[in-house]
Each structure stands twice: as C-alpha cells, then as structure tokens.
Point group: D2
Amino acid sequence: MSDAPIRFAVVGLGYWGPNLVRNINELPGAEAAVVCDLRPEALETITRRYPAVRGTTSFTDVLSDPTIDAVVIATPVSKHHPMAAAALRAGKHVFVEKPLAASSEEAADLIGLAERLDLVLMPGHTFLYSPPVMMIRELIASGELGEIYFISTSRVNLGLHQSDVSVAWDLGPHDFSILRYWLGETPSHASALSRGCIIPSIPDVAFINLEFPSGTVAHVELSWLAPSKLRRTTVVGSRKMVVYDDTSSEPVRVFDSGAVLPNPETFGEYKLTYRTGDILSPRVEVAEPLYREIEDFCTAIRTGGVPRSSAELGMEVVRMIEAVDASLDAGGARIGISAPARVAA
Amino acid sequence: MSDAPIRFAVVGLGYWGPNLVRNINELPGAEAAVVCDLRPEALETITRRYPAVRGTTSFTDVLSDPTIDAVVIATPVSKHHPMAAAALRAGKHVFVEKPLAASSEEAADLIGLAERLDLVLMPGHTFLYSPPVMMIRELIASGELGEIYFISTSRVNLGLHQSDVSVAWDLGPHDFSILRYWLGETPSHASALSRGCIIPSIPDVAFINLEFPSGTVAHVELSWLAPSKLRRTTVVGSRKMVVYDDTSSEPVRVFDSGAVLPNPETFGEYKLTYRTGDILSPRVEVAEPLYREIEDFCTAIRTGGVPRSSAELGMEVVRMIEAVDASLDAGGARIGISAPARVAA
Amino acid sequence: MSDAPIRFAVVGLGYWGPNLVRNINELPGAEAAVVCDLRPEALETITRRYPAVRGTTSFTDVLSDPTIDAVVIATPVSKHHPMAAAALRAGKHVFVEKPLAASSEEAADLIGLAERLDLVLMPGHTFLYSPPVMMIRELIASGELGEIYFISTSRVNLGLHQSDVSVAWDLGPHDFSILRYWLGETPSHASALSRGCIIPSIPDVAFINLEFPSGTVAHVELSWLAPSKLRRTTVVGSRKMVVYDDTSSEPVRVFDSGAVLPNPETFGEYKLTYRTGDILSPRVEVAEPLYREIEDFCTAIRTGGVPRSSAELGMEVVRMIEAVDASLDAGGARIGISAPARVAA
Amino acid sequence: MSDAPIRFAVVGLGYWGPNLVRNINELPGAEAAVVCDLRPEALETITRRYPAVRGTTSFTDVLSDPTIDAVVIATPVSKHHPMAAAALRAGKHVFVEKPLAASSEEAADLIGLAERLDLVLMPGHTFLYSPPVMMIRELIASGELGEIYFISTSRVNLGLHQSDVSVAWDLGPHDFSILRYWLGETPSHASALSRGCIIPSIPDVAFINLEFPSGTVAHVELSWLAPSKLRRTTVVGSRKMVVYDDTSSEPVRVFDSGAVLPNPETFGEYKLTYRTGDILSPRVEVAEPLYREIEDFCTAIRTGGVPRSSAELGMEVVRMIEAVDASLDAGGARIGISAPARVAA
C-alpha cells in the first residue's frame, strides 16, 4: 500500500461515531472522508465541524465509493454482520464496534470472509488499548503476580440502559475482552444470574461466574442500576494482587501481599502466615485508547498484521456472552464452553 | 425469674470468648461466673483480669454447677451441637456463636430440644444488632427503598484463614443472616463457584448467587484472600438505593436515585429516564453490637420472648450454607432450597 | 441593541482563548468573529476548526473593525490594562481574563473608563458561575449555615508553574473571588507567608490569612508544588458546616453538626455538647461555568445590567492580592485593607 | 539500677492516665504501683481492674512512698510545673503529659532541676513514637525527599473542646513536636490568626505560619470545630513528596514527583518540567506509640540516656506555642523566636 492516507467511512453517528471521526482525523496517515447515517441532522453536525468530510444517508453509496479504503461500523449490534459482510465484499477493510456480531456464527462468517478476501476485520475492544489494562497484562504475563487465583470485577452505574440488548451484551464485552486479553484463554464454563428489574424482558443486572482452563476463576458483576459508578477489578495472584479502577487517579495499585504456606508438605498443619507489604501505584501513561486502537487498525491494514483486538478475540467474546445467555435460559445452569472452533478460511 | 443477675458460663476463650466475658460483665443484670477452656493459660488471662470469675477446664463441671443460668458456646463449629445439646439437657439457656450448628439436622435437633425444655437457644448473629444493619432493615421495611431489585455484597480481606471450615462457613453467616433479616425470607435457589487457592481442599474464595421468592436476587462474594479490606453492600430498590460499608465513617449512604419508566403500558417504547438525586449519610448511632446482643439474650431469658437473632433464623442461615455446599459439590449447579421444614416441637 | 448576534473578538489564544471561542460559538446570540494572536499557527488551528472565524495578528485591526461589539482579552496580566483600555476607547464591551488588572490603580482606571463610556467591563471570575459555588453562596445567604465562623481552603497541585507571576496572582483570584462572592465583603486585614522553592524570586507556595469585618476568618493555601491535586474548602458555620471539593463527584457536602453552648450566660461553665448529625450531598446541577459566564456578559451588554462577576468584585480581588504582596514585602506583617475606594465615574 | 521493675505512680486519671496504667502494666520491667486522683470513683475503676494497684487521693502520699521510682503527671497543664518539680525534689523520675509546662520559664526550671538531681524528665510527645512519624523522619534524614521546601498540616475535628486552654496549647504540641523531630530545628519566626468561635476568649481555630532557619516554611491548621476528622500533613521536598494521614490505612504515601529546572543558570528561561512518578504506600509497622514511649522512658531511667521525646524538645515546643500566643496578642504580627536559651544546669 502506498503512503497515501487511509480513507475512512464512518457508518453510524451515535455515541461512538463522532469520537471515531475525531480520532481518525487526528491520526497521521488517516482521514475521515465520508460519514453515513440515516439522520440528516447527525450528518450536518459532523460536516459542519469537519468541512472536508462528506455526508451521505446511503450505505450503498459508501460501498460503491472506490476512494474509501476502510469502513467503520458503529451501528446497533443487529446490523454488524450484514453491514460488515457487505463492506468486506466491497473490498473494504472493516472496523466493527464491539461486540463483533450478534452470534458466534455471524462472527465466524465475517472472519472467514475477511480471510478469503485478505482484508482486515477488527472489533472495537477499546479497553485493550487502555494503558492501565496493558500494564496489568504485562504484570500477569511477566509472572510478577504469580499464579492468578481469581479475578473479581464490577462494572456498574446508573443509566445508559439499552432498549435492544441485555446488560450482558452491552457491558459484558468490556470485561470479557479484558479477561481474554489478560489471561490468554477462554473460560471453559460460565454460569449466570440476572434480572430485568425495570423491564422484565431486558436483564439490567447480571452476576456471572467464569471458570478458566488454568484454574483461574472470575466473577463479573454488570448493572445499569447502581447508585454510584463503580469500575473495580481485583486480580489476586499467588505473589501479588492488583486493584484496577478505571475511574481513579491511581488506576493500577499493586499490593505486595499474600498468604504463605511455609511447608506445603504438611498440609495437616495449615500454619499460614500472611505477608502484608508495600502498595505501589505505578505511574500510568495518559493516552486516548481510541486513538491507539485506530492506529493499530491502520497498522494492520498497512502491514497485513493482526491487531491486538483481533477478530478471533472478538469471536471469543461473543462465545462468552452466548454462554451467559445459555446459562440464563437454563435457569442459571453451569454451561460448558467448547474449545474454540477452528474458523474455516 | 427473680431479679437476681443471670449467671453465665463462657465456654471457649478464643477470639469471641473474652469479648463476650467483657460485655456480660458490663451488662446490668448479668455476670460472667465461670469461664471454661482446655488451655489453663487462657483461663488465667481472664481470671487475672476478672478476679470474680472462676476458671475451669471441665465442661462437665460447668454443666453440674446449679448456680449457672446460661451457657455461652464459643467453640469450633463441630462442637456446637454436642455442647449446646448437653447444656440444654442440663437446664441451661444457651447462646451459641454463629453458625448455630454444623448442619440443619443438628440445628433442628437443638431447636426441638430448646422448645421441649422451654429454654432460650440463640445463635450469635451479631450483625443483626449493628446500628447500620438495623437502620437499613428499617429503610427496607418502611418501603422507603421501594421494591428490592437486587443486593450485591463483598466481604473480603487478607488473612483470618480458617483451617477447619470453608470461607462460606466462616464468613457466610454474616451476610446470610443480614440478608435473611433485611428481606424476611430465605432464598429459593443458590448457586456458587469457589476455589481453594492456598489449600485446595479448603475454599478460600466463593462467589454465591441467591434468588429469593419475592424476586430479589443477590450476589455474595466472600474471600480470605483480597488485597484490601472490603465490606461493601449495595441494596438497589425501585425508589432508592443504599450503600452499606461497615468500615466507613459513613456506614449508611442513601441515594435518592433511580430509573423511571414513565408509561409502563407502552413497553415497546422504553423511554427510560434516570433520576439522580441527593445522597444522604444519616447519623448512625454508635453502639457495641455484642452488648446489645447479650442484652437481647437476657431479655429473652427473663421474658420468654424470641430474640431478634432467633434459633429459626440461625437454622435458615445453616440451610443457606448447605445449599452453597450442595451447589459446589454439583459443580456449581443451581440448587433449590425447600421451604423451611417445620421444626418438630 | 438589536437582536443581531453579539460579535466577539478573542484576543490571546493560550489556554483560555480557544475555550472562550468554543463557548461563544455555542451560545445563541453570540458569535466569535475574529481571533487575534501574534502566533500565526495558533490562529490557523482555530480558523481551521471554525472556518467562519477570521484570524489576525493585529490588535489594531481588531479595534478598527466596526462589526465587532465585544472584545475578550485573554493575554498575560501585564497586558490587561493597556489592551482593555484601548478596546473600551474603541467603543467595545470588554471581558478580561482574571485578574482584572495588574494593580488596583489600573483596575480603577478601567472601571472609570467603562462607566464614562457606558460599556460593560467584566473580569472572568469563572468560579462564580460554577454550580457548587452558587449553591454554597445560597446556603450562606439563606442563613442555613448560621454565622460563618471560618473558611479554610486549599488549592494545590503539581505543575502549571507560571514564569511571570507569583502563585498568589495566578491561583489567588479563584479563592479570593469565591470568598468575596460568598461573604459579600472584602477582608479588612491580610497576612501571608510564601516561598519561591523552585525559582527564588517567584513564590510558588503561599499561606494566606484573611480577616473579614464580620468576624469571619479565612485561610487560603496556594501551591503549584503539591503531590496530589487538592481543591478542598471547608466552611464552618454556627449551625452547619460545608465541605466543597471541586474535583469530587459530590462537590458539596453539608454537615448538620455543630457545637452547642447550652447556657451562654454562664460562660464560666463551658459545658459544651457536640451535635453530630446527618451528612447531605445535594445533587448539583451539571453546567459549564464558562458558558454561563459568557451568557452573563451578553446579558449585561443587552440589558445594561451588572454581571455577577462585576468589575467592582474584580477590583476587590486585585486589592486582596495587593495586600498579600504587601504583607510578603513586609516580612509577613498583618496588612490593613482600606475600605473600597469609591471609583470615580 | 538493679533488675527490679521500675515502680510507677500515675497521677491524674482523666483520658491519658488509664491508658498509661495499662501500658505500664504490659511493659516487662515496669509496674503501676500507685494511682492518684482526687476523685475516689476514678481510683476505684482502676483498682478494681488492677487489684495490685493501690489508689490514693494524696499526692504527698505518692511523693513520700520510697518504693516509687517514677511519677507520671497526667494532670491539667497548670499543674505540670508544681507537681513535676515536687516529684523531682522527692527524687522521682518524672514523665509529664504534653505540653511539658505552661511556660518556657517553667520548662527551663524543671529541666535545670532534673539535671541537678540527675533524674530523667520526659514530656509525653507520643507522636514521636508513632511508626509513620518515625518513617517520615527517616525519609527526611536520609535525604530521600531532598531539601524540604514546605510542610502543610491540618489537625481538625469536631469536639474535644477544652475549657481551660486554647486550641494551640491543646493540639499544637502534636504538630510542633513532630515538626521539631522531623526537621531538627526550631522555627525562627511564627505568626498566627485565631478566633474563639464558640467562647470568644478561648481560640478554637488557629492558622499558624512558621519559618525555619533552613528555609523550610510550614503551615499548621488547628481546630476543634470542623465537620470531619482531618489529619493530613504534606511534606514537599525537592526530590519527593510525602502525605501523612494518621487516620488512613495507608498512613504514609511517598510521591516520586517534582519540578525539574533543567538549566538553573538561565533563570530567565524558566523552562520547568514536571516529573510525575510512582506513588508508594510503604508497609508501616503496627505498634502502640504509648507503649514505645513508656519503654523509652524506662530505658532512659536505666541507662541515664536521653529519650527521643527529650525535655529539651519539650521546651522548644513550649517556646513555639508561646510565640503563637505572642503573635495573637500582637494582632497576628510576625514574632521572632530567639535561639534556644542554654538551660542552666
């Protein structure tokens, strides 16, 4: 590919669309050329702010524009598969807002399509580009935390209720993608309890238990109905523990604490001692994850590499959500998640 | 009963025993007469501090002392049933540290015995006498919070690992007794995920989901392995929400927030609005729960009434723990909890 | 004045300039017509973002443009007086970033000029338009807090060191304008201690004591050198107390606490009791203060009224800073602040 | 001195007295032999708890008891000098609750007396034995913080109003002794602003500015009238900064942050950069300061050494309070504190 800037079309100007346009325009080597939305007033807001951007209400128009290299799909989940598939078939690289698709079948179909056509397909799991999440991934991968015993995470806040999807489809992709990235494995089992408090048919609180092949267990609490914003993830390892709070000025705190079993041979004794140590809040780089994410997408387009937020990771996230739904359908039963199906190329 | 002080024997001088002795001695109308423990040095520490208290290593000695009105059992759980049963048979009122017994059969046996002998049997669910817990009970009972949608609670801290029981038997009685007291109902279903991180056979972290007949759902996270002390309970109601933090200088915070569904008839619309309101930290009375608890026990002895921490509530707590164990034994399956068996008198 | 929009020129495109341009453009009835800065690249950034805005490096050009109604001066303090005076003489309404001028003589001169020419002169004390500050003003004015005993405020943070002015001139206007607005009076005395830690000639930490005619005392701590951001103001009244923290999600907290002197006649007894009560975090409206401030400026232009951040208040703030400087020059001596000189019209 | 335990008399059973008795009794090599108070009920409470302790209402009785080695004076400040002097003259080592005396003359008199009689005289500046205070002293002494630019400290809380002394005499000794211990120097100048909010003649809030010979400046805010407990001390050094909060579970936090002046020669440039780094909460040993303090007193008695909380330090603290009073008497004027007078032996 030449050094010419990658020309983007951004489809869907809800919450994420305008942010994506801004970041694309700030990125050297990229430019937002077209925005597409059914609402003329949404188009006008953007084109007035960015006079060089063309607005259109026609997705066909976007697909048939030969100057467009990449399409960003920021529409409701149900539209992800048809629009992404059409864009891939039109020869465009595709970035899809999370979750990648509304089912693992749809996700596998998109992945197969992108592989056959040699195009980049990338889901927008933005948290994988967040400096605190990356730092904790490094703490885990380097062994500094030791064996990961368990992870407990809460993502709750009043508001942002979605009328079309459950809280698991809405907020779950955040935590599931982070867990997948940190641990490098997909859970083997999931079970869940949820309730539609406001609208009975739409779960707005969910308590999700996950078991990973390595032995790590995790709990994920999701809710649109909570009195105060809470983004707290605790990672308990055999050597150190980490608390990650997205909303804090100290987003990563490393606790040099743990339990020590002096002589593991004599389990009968169980003379445990506890090591309480220093607490470190490492300086975390300040960077806009969305910018880094678009940058990674562009690099993948230019080099043919695989972005950190890969389509395969996106499909694993969808499979995790499907397992949660299956557990809820079965009254909270523990659902096995099969090993990832090999995607047919 | 006369106005003579109630004379207590305290059996077991571990963590709770000395605190119980102190509170009994501070309570008008009660006196600690005898302490019993197998370790002479534990007896000596107490009798030196309280010269009027007699020490003995013989439980039989305690039972045969006709001047003793009430026996406090603060021994490991496995001893609760045999010692409480023997004390009841010796005609003593019995206060047992939580949990009431090691199984619901044992608990039912003790309850039947106490009813037949017309003696008070009371488990030590101290949190029911904690001012913040009582205040939240009142907020729920008065309807101020509206319908209780869900409750999420975390009780975690580094240390205090028990070698003989799981974290569910050790820490579960706190949250289970509070939930039972607040909601006035026993869950219909439980499911759980746990792991023995340090000693594989002893679960030291547990994620527990509970469903109540009224529709309320709850999540209880328990752990001996967490980087920082966390005692946070969130109660989400249809009108208001409450955050309870035992370790805070503002233990009860009432959030006048909620979701509003303007026209419930047209569910198809789902035009939710969110009401964000004031946050109130009501002044909470400062009082030692253990003192109030012993006081309630003495009142029950004098009046023949039922203490707030009743034997029936204690048995429900044991049944909840048993359901958690059953779920863990069944690989996390959702376990039904039958309606409370009527205790044979 | 007609209904035509008020046309603004914004002079100085440092930190505040671009924010002012954005808010002016978002305000109905106002438009940013011209931006002026000596740096062509600063002009280009703005004019690319707002194609309708004209850029110029010539202040004379701004003054001679008959279509400009109002000039915003966002330049270094030393330029405030000459530029504001020139703009007033050119018949423009003038908004000057805080502090109003580099001396009370300069401030009085500008005020006299504006009065003679019947133009609006307004200093940019933005905090007076911040919802928490307005709410506390109302709590004080309504008598809900009782007599104001004392106010203690800290405004510290690492960074933002200014090379041309002291921390008192840089950060002082925030707290001084808030105190003036809340209490409705200018201090009678000031004393201060400061130190130039990094550059000896430029004070970067200051501890300032203020005495008000009503008896209220205040302490203001200012620093560019502090380990963590701290914006905490405590207002202690005879009936209630308030903590204001600009950086918190609960910026205003009202404490229904106080000391009670049961029988003030028998001072010899001093049997004080303390009343500890509820703590309330009232819901505080979310609004951008800068928008409200520009709106108030426009209203003053249209109606001939006096904006909340009045030129007189701006001059009082300058007199308070001068008193601090005088105290520092006199080795920390307590400096009397004379009653406000009547501005010659 | 022999290995026989040091026998103590504790005079004054208000707040500190009973705590001192408990710690003396827990310390090997020390025993509380006599307690003295004018109120028989106060004596009875102690002697019932500690049957081996003898109670007396007669101070003369204490002085004439030849078996008493050391006297602890925990009476109101005005009694410190006469009682300590009498005890020294009776040949007893003396521990006096802070402040050492009601004036520097009185303090100097006691010091001279102790030196002549070769007895230990020690003021009870308990904070010098608090692990966080000791850790920060080491951080300063080792140079890890660099040059100490400034220290700002707040010690405020609702309640504990004293009817006989000002807030400076009541709370000032804490901060003044800590500053003296940390910096190893007495301020050269003090100025203060205070107000008697509740009782006009008794200052209950004070803002105190201090200047030290080394260039360090400090601010001390003291109040009995504040909505919430605040114990926050910020130490800003040229290399690192420390926040000390006595009430936090992380009492010491070290900020590896600072301002960097790349080329100090070209002051005209002032191109400062800020270094934001890690934040460390070192593990702080848990220990009861009062126990360590009594232990240090006993060691001084046995070895003839000087305790950390020395009489000289105690006198410097009194001189600092006197300077505050002098400043208040002079309307807030800046008061010079002369170099410590050499105590006549």
